[in-house]
Structures are given as structure tokens and as C-alpha cells.
Symmetry: C2
Subunit: 100 residues, 2 copies
DNA sequence: CCAATTGTTTGACATTCATCTAACGGTGTC
DNA sequence: GACACCGTTAGATGAATGTCAAACAATTGG
């Protein structure tokens, strides 16, 4: 069973979050998942014109910046924005970025 | 008389803004000026351990992303966050980023 | 006009980063 | 156990970027 640890948001800086969001693909991913509901990774990466590998790289970057987490189900993974935690750590940020 | 044109915020994307803010120095600059009040450029760059040239580069980047504008007074320039315009174009963003 | 001051630009350099292909690693299924 | 499937990792590559030193430009003042 593979593990995909996420950082404690207390250790995540605004700078790291903004850096992660400063890429068009990653911003689009976060916007797509902004409601906090999990979605199959395959569904996400198929929306873009990049390869699976590139998308996996972006997923990892977003996870490292505390923005998303994975739910593993057998072979497939769901990805999900840590909306509630983010709203507590960085109030208003996700909403502003998504343009809610 | 040198001109320093700023983009119309209607033409500025969230992506461009986040990219500009994704650098630690630029984020610090915006936070320092977030209230929208002008400050001498010299006062700003002296707060950092970078050279004048590097700071001028960051100023230009922030200006190009629509985040700041300059007020020229003879030899010296004031720099200022376009707070009101930004708040209208990207509601809540500056406040969230600054951690108001 | 000349010199000092303030800020920008240029060119170089090292680093970071997004991207791809190819190979690898778990997981479920037959 | 063998194979197909889903996703990650490794390595390579080219582009973008932050940084600095040095040269340049505009302005003020003597």
C-alpha cells in the first residue's frame, strides 16, 4: 500500500501556495476541484493536453504545497482540494483565486 | 519625461497575478505596500538583501502584472499597489494574500 | 556645462522548472 | 502466476527566471 503524505498546513507558507498556483495547468486543476469534492485523477488529466507524466508532476507539486490530497482506491486515485483546511489556514484565498 | 505604463486590469489574468506573487521578494514587496499608499522605491529595496538592479526587475514584473504603479517625482519614484482597482478586478485576493 | 544621484537596462550566469519518452511499480482480473 | 491497467519515477532537454556587475539614461544642483 503506497502512501502519499500531505504536509501539515501550519507548515505551509503563503509563498509556497502562490508558487504552486502560479502555473496555468495547476491553477486550472485547483479551480476544477475547488469545491473540495474528490475526482478521479484520470478525469482530471484528460482535460488537459499534457501527458499523464506531466500531470502526475503537477499533482505532486500541488500536494507538496498542501493544496490537494489523494484518496487511493485500489488501482485508481481520487484527487481533492483540501478546501476546509485551506480556508482555515488562508482565509478567503481559495475563494478569491477561484473567483467564486 | 519617462513613462511607465500599466496594463488595464481587465486584460490581466489571475494566472499572471499569481505568477508575479509566486516569488518571495515580490510577495514581500506587495505585502509591504498592500495598503495602497505610495512609498519611495529606495525605501523598499533597502529592506531587502538584493541589489538595486534585481529590485528594479521585480518592480517591473509587478507592474507588468498590474499589481503596482509608479509615481514619478523628479529623480525619485514612489511605488504603490493598485489596491482599489485590484479589489474590484480580483475581489478578496489582495486581502487574502496579505493575510489582512 | 559638469558632477552627483536615482533608477533602468544589458549581458552573463546558474538555477529552476515544465515537458516528454521510457521504464518501473502496485493492483485487480483472468 | 501472467497480463492488463493506473499512476509514478527517472532521465533528458529546452525554456524561463532570479541574480549580479557594469554600463546607461534621466534629473537635479552647483
Amino acid at each position: 500500500m503506497v502512501e502519499y503524505p500531505v504536509p501539515d498546513l501550519a507548515d505551509v507558507t503563503m509563498e509556497a501556495v502562490l508558487k504552486a498556483l502560479g502555473d496555468p495547468t495547476r491553477l486550472a486543476i485547483v479551480r476544477m476541484l475547488a469545491d473540495g469534492r474528490p475526482r478521479p485523477k484520470a478525469d482530471v488529466w484528460q482535460q488537459f493536453s499534457t501527458t499523464k507524466a506531466t500531470c502526475a508532476h503537477h499533482f505532486k507539486t500541488l500536494r507538496g504545497a498542501g493544496l490537494v490530497t489523494y484518496d487511493v482506491h485500489g488501482r485508481t486515485h481520487d484527487i481533492r482540494v483540501r478546501r476546509a483546511e485551506l480556508d482555515e489556514r488562508f482565509p478567503g484565498l481559495v475563494a478569491a483565486v477561484v473567483g467564486s
